[in-house]
Structures are given as C-alpha cells and as structure tokens.
C-alpha cells in the first residue's frame, strides 16, 4: 500500500462567486514509503497548492487523495495528523520554548485532552532528537538558535508526530549552503533508515537532483512530470521547464548555463585534476572556451613545481607566470582592453 495515492486530482482555489481557479488538473501520482521525492518547478506553478492539498489543509477541487489508503476527505484532522506531518518554510518565532518543548508539541495528535506526556511520548521525542542529531541542545531555547538549527528542530517535531509521511514546503529556502546540504542529507537518511516517505518542494534543483529518488516537476502551464531526476534531464523536461531567456540547462554537465559573451578560445595544458577543472571554469567565466587544439588565443600551462602550482599564460606576443588565478585572470582582462 502506497503512502500517497492521488487519483485524477484537480487542485486550485475556489473563488467567491462559484468560480474555480484550477492550478493543476487530472493528476495521478503515487508514493511509497522509503522514498524521497522533490517537488520542483518555477515560482507560482502550484507547488505549495499541491502540498497543502495533500496534507488536507486545502480541499481538492476534484479527484481524490489517499494517505496510507485512506481518503483525506473522510478522516478527521487528528487522524490525518497521524498520517502526515508538515514542515513549513518560515522559521518559527516563539519565545520561552525549549527544543524539547517544541518536539513534545509534535505529540499533539497522540496525547490526551490535557496534553500530558507519557513515558512512551518521552521516548518518541528523544528518539526523534537523536535521529536529527540535536539531542545535545534539547535544553536550549528556540530563540537562541540559528535558522538552520530551528529548521532541524521542526523536522524533529515532525518525526515525533510519528507519521509515515513527512511533507516539507521549501524547508531550506532561508538557509545557507552547508545547512541546505545537511538538511537534505538528514532527510535522505530518514527516508532510507526509518522507512518514512519524504516529499519536499525546493528551488534548489541541483541539490534535489543529487538527493531525490524521484522528481515531481510542475510547469507554469500546469503540466506535470514524474520520474527519476536523470530521466527527466535526458528526455529534456528539465531544460524545457527551467529555461528562462538566455539561461538554459546544460544537460551534458548537469547545471545551469550562464550566458557569457564569447571572446575567444583557450588551450589548457599541464596538470590535470582539480587544477585543470577550476582553470577551465575561470577561463569560461571571462569568455574563453577551452579547446584541445591549436590555434587558441590563449594558452595556459599549469606547471607543478616543488611546493606550489604556477600558471604560465601565453598570449600572442607575451608570456607571464602567475602563482594564482586571481592575478592571471586580471592580467588577461587588462591585456584584452589594450588590444
């Protein structure tokens, strides 16, 4: 039995006067436990609407959503909260709550009318803190933490809610790079080790493609694509959905291509590996496409010496040695201005 089964679902908003604004129509999707799925698409394509509909916060316009085999239209909000938990984009601002307090709130659908915590609840909270690796700051107050730490707390809270499915709406949008990667890593581990299903929307396509088992791609026009990230690149969906103006997706290298005005070609020889890779990147950045053969406008030779690397840059007429790329690039740029 799948965690999510979506049957001919149409999502959108009801308007005041009997009208409907359909965002995506006739969706058929499914998700199994242990899967990590990233929902990607341009702004305003309906990612949040879809997530809200799946969590039952927004009623579907048409069609059905089944969570663990149960139709969300026919279950109470408390039963639903036992099947799916949610993490939102904005970090929570709350005073005088410890990390442990926040996690204990995740037990809301399981506790009695007073909300008192039994031993079982405490065990669940501690296990959740351990799974995210934040037990060591369980006693700290939420307002003392950084945004990234706070988002980890919210994920631990979702775990304490003990639902098979966890939905996250752009959980890393406000975080810097290392935290983004760490959170994705945590989520990946949760899906694999705890057999949970994790569905998250993100704008970080690169990270999503490296982590997700499947991508759900929504486009502006309401079209929807489902598949392994690699398939979606190979059949051109990614470049089609994400191309804006001059920015295009480079399917050969797997990243977005920034338009650079080409100035000429560069031939790079010498040392291989990381030095060659970053030298190529630097030349590309200032508009010199690397090529293997002569004749090229610029020839860069990466020469290893005993203790360091030197770049020997040859242009027609001049040769100069550099101990770093900063000076080398600067030299090429000023040189061209003169010519």
């Amino acid at each position: 039995m799948g965690l999510i089964k979506i049957d001919k679902l149409t999502i959108g908003y009801k308007k005041r006067k009997n009208g409907e604004r359909k965002v995506i129509s006739h969706l058929n999707l499914d998700m199994k436990s242990g899967e990590l799925i990233c929902l990607v698409g341009p702004n305003g394509s309906g990612k949040s609407t879809l997530l809200k509909t799946i969590t039952g916060l927004l009623p579907p316009l048409d069609g059905e959503v089944f969570l663990s085999g149960r139709n969300i239209r026919s279950i109470s909000s408390l039963e639903r909260a036992k099947l799916v938990s949610m993490v939102l984009t904005n970090p929570v601002q709350a005073g005088q709550l410890t990390v442990y307090d926040v996690c204990s709130l995740g037990r809301y659908p399981h506790t009695d009318w007073m909300g008192s915590l039994a031993q079982e609840d405490h065990d669940m909270i501690t296990a959740s803190l351990d799974a995210i690796g934040i037990r060591h700051f369980a006693h700290r107050y939420l307002h003392e933490l950084s945004d990234g730490e706070r988002q980890k707390v919210m994920i631990a809270r979702a775990l304490a809610q003990n639902s098979k499915l966890i939905i996250l709406d752009e959980p890393t949008a406000f975080l810097d790079m290392p935290y983004r990667i760490e959170i994705m890593h945590i989520l990946k581990n949760l899906a694999m080790n705890e057999d949970r299903g994790i569905l998250l929307s993100t704008h970080d396509l690169d990270l999503a493609m490296r982590t997700a088992d499947r991508l759900w791609v929504v486009n502006h026009d309401g079209s929807f694509h489902d598949g392994a990230p690699e398939d979606l690149v190979l059949n051109g969906i990614i470049s089609q959905v994400f191309a804006i103006g001059e920015i295009s997706y480079d399917a050969e290298r797997g990243h977005f291509h920034m338009p650079v005005h080409p100035k000429g070609s560069a031939r790079i020889t010498g040392e291989n590996g990381k030095f060659r890779f970053w030298t190529e990147r630097a030349m590309e950045r200032i508009g010199y496409i690397s090529q293997e053969n002569e004749p090229a406008e610029i020839h860069v030779h990466i020469a290893p010496t005993e203790s360091c690397i030197t770049w020997i840059i040859k242009t027609p007429g001049t040769v100069k040695k550099f101990s770093n790329l900063t000076d080398g690039i600067h030299w090429i740029q000023t040189l061209k201005l003169v010519v």
Binding site: T55, L88, V92, Q93, Q96, L105, Y108, M114
Partner: protein, 360 residues
C-alpha cells in the same frame, strides 16, 4: 550527554516553579488581608479576624464596613485580576502578538458603548443625583448594558471568523470594531449632559467597589466556570504557539478552537468590564511577567501563574488607589498602569540584556 527531562521540558513542575507558585499564593493571601485591613476607617487587625470568623465585633459599623465594602471589593479585585490576566494570555497566544490584550477584540469598547448608550442617552435630565437618575438601571443596568455591548461585538467577530483563515486579519478587525464603538461613544458624549458625561467617566475609571453580594455571586460563578473551562484549552494553546499553520498540520481544528478562545475571553473580560469598568494594563502585562518569571511558554504553568499574579497585581493596584489613611481614592485604571508599566519596562530591558526579547 543526557539531561533529565525536568530540566529540558520548560514548565515541567520542578522546585523553582513550585517555589514561585507558593510565593505568589502567599503574596495573594497577604494582599487579600491588606485589602481588608487598609482603608479610610482604621479597624484593628484582631477585630478583622474576629469579624471574619463570625465572632462579631464591638462596633457594628466595622462589621458593616468589612462585609459590605471591603470583602466584596477584595473578592471583585481577586476575580477581576485573574480573569483579565487569563483573557490577555489567551489573546497573546492566539494572535502571537505581545501587544494583544483582553481589549484587542474590541470587547471592552463594545461594553463601553453599551454603558454609554444607557448612561448618556437614557432620559433627559435635570435631576440632582446621577445614580437616582439612572433609576431602575443603577449598577445592575450598567452591568447588563456592558455585557450586551461586548456580547454584540463577540457575535460579529464569530460571524466573521468562519470566513477568515488568517488570525491576524481578525486582530485588525477587532481593533476596527473597537475604534467604531469608541467613535460612537464620542458622538454620544458630545451631545450628552455634563453630569451624565461625568457618570460615564467615573465608570471608565474602573473600580472594584460598589458590587453587591448578588452581583459578586454572578461574577465569581462566571470567573470560576471560565477559568475551569480554560484548563481544557491548555493543549490547544500550546500547539498554537507554533502558529496557525503548524497547529493545523498537527491536527488542530483552527476555527473551532479559535471560537472557543474568543468565547472564553469574551466571558472573562466581559463580566469584569461589566462590573468594574474597563480595567487596563493587567491583561497585557501579567502574561509577560509570568513568562519571564517562569521562563516557559507552557500554558499548563502560565494559566495558574496568570491567575495568581493577575489577582495580586489587581489587589495591589486597588490598595494603592484607595490611598490608605486618607479619605480620597484615585482612579483605579491610572494606578494599574502606573505600577504596571515600570515593571514591564524593567522586564523588557533586563531580558534584552540577556539576549532574550519579549515575545509570545
């Protein structure tokens, strides 16, 4: 490293919290007795104990003063402080706004309008005594008018609440209801007679005195029922601390819970406003004091704490307002703010020095 749960879980009943609770309870008992002892007529302390224990007293007038003036006043102050503090706590949590208080929904403005209509426009004029002028109404009439006014505002808010998903919108709507009610009051005052305006102004100063035992029974009944009912809201209030959306995602029925909170707030603050007039400041300041004092946002602790501290603050304000030893009294409303504001300012400054800011 393993921390004991009592340390991690803020608001878990530990030694510190129990200690502060006991301290507050003792302070409340002392303040309650001070309220009986202090007043313009000096009654010796042993006499008060004898009167309270039903052994009578050498002066009949003393028995009268205690039973008909000081004891009712102390009871009303106790209930009013507790109710207003709880109402303020609920509003701050629901709107997650540290500036919210019992009056943000426009309830006390509604009550004020009800009273203004009765006091300012009833009958035309000429009589010497203001109270006599109100005729059959009197203080009971004022209480009924106030309940009516705040009840009407509550009904409007509940009607709107069904259609509004965002609680912040309701906060703004409540404030707008309040402004509208206040502008009607201004218009009424513009056309009213001077002595009626004075009567209204006296009501708006707020006072714990003047209630009869029948009225006190009503007040105590509503207060006790409301406070007991609020225990059932603890769990929902706690989860609302993370915001409406998180609360809903964890299974909270937002609109139903919100309406429950509105009704309980309306009952608690409405009944107090009806009997005592608009008492400012206690509702907004006590929850902050309690959060700072107990270092928790857990309503399981905050509710009893607000009841105790609210009652203490109300009684202290009333004792100061009655200016012990002199035969004058000051407007209660002025005193609650006068002693409350410096305390809150001090809390804000001392907290922000520790890197903590006042929040809900």
């Amino acid at each position: 490293m393993k921390y004991p749960i009592s340390m991690i879980l803020s608001g878990h009943f530990n030694m510190r919290i129990t200690g502060i609770m006991i301290f507050l309870l003792l302070s409340l008992i002392i303040l309650f007795f001070l309220e009986l002892v202090l007043g313009s007529v000096a009654i010796p302390y042993p006499e008060i104990v004898r009167i309270l224990t039903g052994q009578g007293s050498s002066h009949d007038s003393w028995i009268m003063i205690i039973y008909n003036f000081r004891l009712p006043k102390a009871m009303v102050g106790l209930c009013a402080g507790a109710c207003l503090a709880i109402a303020g706590l609920f509003m701050q949590t629901l709107f997650r706004n540290p500036l919210a208080g019992p009056d943000v929904l426009g309830l006390s403005a509604g009550a004020g309008l009800g009273v203004a209509i009765v006091v300012l426009s009833a009958g035309t004029a000429g009589a010497s005594s203001i109270l006599g002028n109100l005729g059959f109404f009197g203080s009971v009439g004022i209480a009924i008018a106030a309940s009516f006014g705040s009840g009407l505002v509550l009904l409007m808010i509940l009607a709107v609440s069904k259609r509004v998903q965002n609680s912040m919108t309701l906060l703004i709507l409540g404030l707008m209801f309040g402004y509208t009610a206040n502008s009607f009051i201004s218009i009424l005052m513009h056309f009213a007679l001077a002595e009626r305006i004075q009567a209204y102004t006296i009501w708006s100063f707020g006072s714990f005195g003047g209630a009869t035992w029948d009225q006190i029974q009503v007040l105590v009944l509503f207060a006790v029922l409301g406070l007991i009912y609020s225990i059932s809201l603890i769990k929902h209030l706690n989860v609302l601390l993370l915001g409406d959306q998180y609360a809903e995602s964890m299974g909270l029925d937002l609109i139903r819970t919100r309406n429950k909170i509105f009704i309980i707030t309306a009952v608690l603050s409405g009944v107090v406003t009806a009997f005592c007039g608009p008492i400012g400041f206690i509702g907004i300041s006590v929850p902050h004091l309690c959060r700072a004092l107990f270092a928790t946002a857990n309503h399981c602790i905050l509710i009893p704490a607000c009841i105790l501290l609210g009652a203490c603050l109300a009684l202290t304000a009333d004792i100061i307002a009655s200016v012990p030893g002199y035969s004058i009294t000051l407007p209660l409303n002025a005193i609650t703010s006068l002693i409350g504001a410096p305390v809150v300012i001090w809390i804000i400054f001392s907290k922000s020095r520790n890197g903590m800011e006042v929040s809900v």
